[in-house]
Symmetry: C2
Subunit: 526 residues, 2 copies
């Protein structure tokens, strides 16, 4: 099946798969919209969460918008993310690995629906400029403006021409000006720095809104500098991303996107941006940062505004970042560092998918867990403050299971290591907020090898056959519906002898006194 | 209201409060009974778990028992535990603190229902000895016999006469012999050692089964050596525990208990006991351990056999140990170490309530988190491998919330410490199983100060009023029922200025361009 040609086709798929809630009542984008979607992340389990489409949107002043607003549609849940990739949730990892190895270069086309409407020059303000777009306030009561939460910034390296696509939050500062949180070492900031050093007065850029999911996923993923996000997006879709040239800047954008904002980012001044809630669960402070002067807005007829819900984890951004990072570390460990015993990787979503990473492994030597810990630490200095390796029978998606592994797999003096040299970007624990961006606060990470260091006897649960039989009785007795957690039956762990098996067999036949009798023969005189 | 006079009154209370499931179909105690109750710990959330009363019990050979079997009745859940103390779950901590400060000595009475039936001498085997009691196999397929999981062992210090009541698992080895896992430094083992050194050939002991909950809770709690469990049980009940003298040993037992097994523990020989599943989630190996020769069994008419469900966490034993340890550490920190800012303590049940402890604190200086960590470490060398202190807004019962606190409150090099000198008793990570009991494997603990080290701006969620308004819309739209997690709204964390408040107010009025305009006045030239 061909990949979604635009966001609209994808919305249809969301609806057909029961992943979409339509809200038709009037909703205030500044005070009601995001709090409503937020509740599903503070009050529902992942299985019950959905994408939301708001069809009747107003603002704080009562103005009615033509554009509907779509939230949590790219990655409201892992299942939604999988739908965005047209695969099963358990195939996401392989899909990413394949796309990284097999990028498909984008294709330039003459025209695309994203330019059905073009507002530039005098016409720009006639249509309201940025006010045309119903940008919601994410954390009303704290945020100082509506911010674009799902912008895909496209810009070019002034030296090499290499295109970067990245997601950097954008504050609405006027009808024609956006603030941008784009920090070192983020890629567009590196390009801006080069522009400045080469003497250009601005960096041209375009903000793409409402692209297909593959573009969204690549924009958010932390791909290496110089790797083309459009190419990987093509790899994910199995077909090239079709691009059109912008109207006022030398940049190409997806032809079927909903909206594009074109402009210039001056290199001579910075302007304060923030505070705004971040994926750490904390508001991040006020930084002098980049801003863009808007020159042109193009959009489709009947365009739809798409926003991520981010801030306090878990949220859509936890899934977006988490899924891509699961795949990145898995690929790094298994394919680049050659540890074939790595089975799965999971960044804990409920703390924002950045600082708690669990790696599942069926180690075949004692060096492997540490190799994985070191390699994962080396992936990116801004993430991975706690990294944990566990055995293959641990449910790495369940914190209870991981804590159990730590409790009985670890002696801290032997199996943990604190390492220096991390760079905690938006992490408020690294330094007081007024110093966090200016001082290179020392960051560190905690590595935990929670695998078992030698054979254990067995897991302390009834053997499988007895649990299966009991489940049948449970259901016959009409007791409440079970959602089994692993492990749900006992199993051997290498230190279980033939004699142990024999004694257990006697016991379930009621012949345990034979064992008792045997034991009298072998008493220890004290 | 007077405290429960016996287990039967308590069972009535369980039933009236919808905490009891009666199973009337025929159930095999060796293969079906424990697996059935186990399922609620592997497949239901705590709110849905119950106590189980099996009224029609058989064994592996088809023998039918008169005694029903009661499981998970003392501490199937924290609510059940609270019912056992006749209080609300949030009052348990204070109840324990009060009882420790105000013990009530037990009262000796002339006779009690526990001796309505007396089987001793020739009569003992006529009634089957231990076979009279339907002792379930906890982990069929692995356990080598039925084990008593809820025995309250009563014995006396041969030197001081001080009574100890403790729970030590007991293997059925013959109709008149029990194996006992009772290790150094457990109290009955210390008494046995003294007996041996004083030249006595045995330590007299009695196993109480089916006592009232207060006795059960004290038997399982790790009370200091020399503190009378009967006295604290009296303190918990607000009335003395009534005792009767045993028939064949100089020991007093609760007059209204269901069953008592009297006997002698030889001091000249040890006998192998185990393997048996433990609260670590692992089977513990085979140790040379104590055993008791049974001399007499007394019980009530229509007696009921009560068993704990333990083994893989969480289980009844996780709640039993956990609740008592929550209270013990809370009391230690707040009352003995004078840290009044300690607000709550929780031992993670899902890893067995022994090795992952979270302390909630509203610190008023930077020494307090470390004081709490050191003091909690010093409580008992066998427990507390990971101890974490968090701020007051963290949900210490929710691992997601604790991990979030670790992720953004901790720099490992600054806020964690590995300390030596722990004694990991049944912990299979300390040494290979064949050496675990003989070699003093070095144990250690990881201390984590996850409190915030300085003011942060705010929690990245919409302010309370907007979340409340959105909840109303959510409910009007008949979206799925919410179970709110904390935090569910944003709040300030000390670094939120009047200017921040002003800008946020402008934003929800749609006046954010005023802020944008202000920012142009204060650009940074670069």
């Amino acid at each position: 099946m061909a990949y979604y040609k635009d966001l609209r086709e994808y919305i249809k798929a969301l609806e057909e798969n029961n992943h979409l809630v339509r809200i038709t009542r009037k909703i205030n984008k500044d005070t009601e919209l995001m709090p409503l979607v937020r509740w599903q992340y503070r009050g529902l389990s992942e299985a019950d969460r959905k994408a939301f489409l708001f069809e009747n949107v107003t603002d704080a002043k009562g103005k009615k918008y033509d554009m509907p607003v779509l939230v949590a549609a790219y990655a409201g849940t892992k299942k939604i993310y999988a739908l965005g990739l047209m695969c099963d949730p358990n195939e996401i990892m392989d899909k990413w690995t394949y796309a990284r190895a097999n990028p498909i270069e984008p294709k330039l086309v003459a025209r695309g629906p994203v330019q059905e409407e073009i507002h530039m020059g005098d016409k720009l303000l006639e249509h309201g400029g940025l006010d045309e777009i119903p940008v919601p306030i994410s954390d009303p009561g704290f945020d100082n403006a509506p911010y674009l939460s799902a912008p895909f910034w496209v810009s070019k390296d002034p030296e090499t021409g290499v295109v970067n696509v990245g997601t950097y939050r954008a504050m609405l500062k006027s009808q024609t000006r956006l603030g941008i949180l784009c920090l070192h070492p983020q890629h567009m900031r590196q390009q801006w720095q080069k522009c400045k050093e080469m003497g250009y007065s601005s960096l041209p850029a375009a903000v793409v809104l409402g692209a297909t999911p593959n573009v969204a996923y690549c924009s958010v993923a932390r791909l290496p500098f110089g790797v083309s996000e459009y190419g990987i997006a093509g790899g994910l879709a199995g077909a090239p991303v079709e691009l059109v040239k912008c109207q006022t800047v030398d940049i190409e954008v997806p032809a079927t996107a909903e909206t594009v904002i074109e402009g210039e980012i001056p290199t001579d001044y910075l302007e304060r941006e923030g505070p705004f809630g971040e994926h750490t669960g904390y508001t991040t402070g006020e930084y002098f940062s980049l801003y863009m002067n808007v020159k042109c807005i193009t959009h489709r007829k009947n365009t739809i505004h798409a926003a991520f819900i981010s801030q306090f984890p878990p949220s859509e951004s936890s899934v977006l970042r988490g899924v891509a990072q699961d795949a990145a570390i898995y690929r790094l460990l298994r394919h680049d560092c050659n540890i074939p015993t790595v089975l799965d990787v999971h960044w804990h979503r409920e703390s924002g998918s950045n600082q708690w990473c669990v790696i599942k492994m069926k180690k075949n030597n004692e060096a492997q867990p540490w190799q994985a810990l070191y390699a994962a630490s080396g992936y990116n200095p801004g993430i991975g403050k706690t990294i944990i390796v566990v055995d293959e029978d641990v449910d790495i998606y369940d914190p209870d299971s991981v804590i159990w592994a730590i409790c009985y797999g670890v002696q801290p003096h032997r199996d943990t290591k604190v390492i220096p040299g991390k760079l905690p970007a938006l992490d408020p624990s690294s330094a007081p907020m007024d110093k966090i961006m200016t001082e290179a606060a020392p960051g560190s990470a905690l590595l935990i090898n929670a695998t078992r260091k030698w054979p254990y006897p067995s897991v302390a649960l009834p053997a499988r056959e007895f649990m299966e039989r009991a489940k049948k009785i449970w259901e016959e007795e009409k007791l409440p519906k079970l959602t089994p957690k692993v492990p749900w039956h006992g199993y051997e762990l290498g230190l279980w002898s033939e004699e142990n098996r024999e004694e257990a067999k006697l016991a379930v036949k009621g012949e345990h006194y034979q064992t008792g009798e045997k034991l009298t023969k072998n008493r220890l005189k004290v």
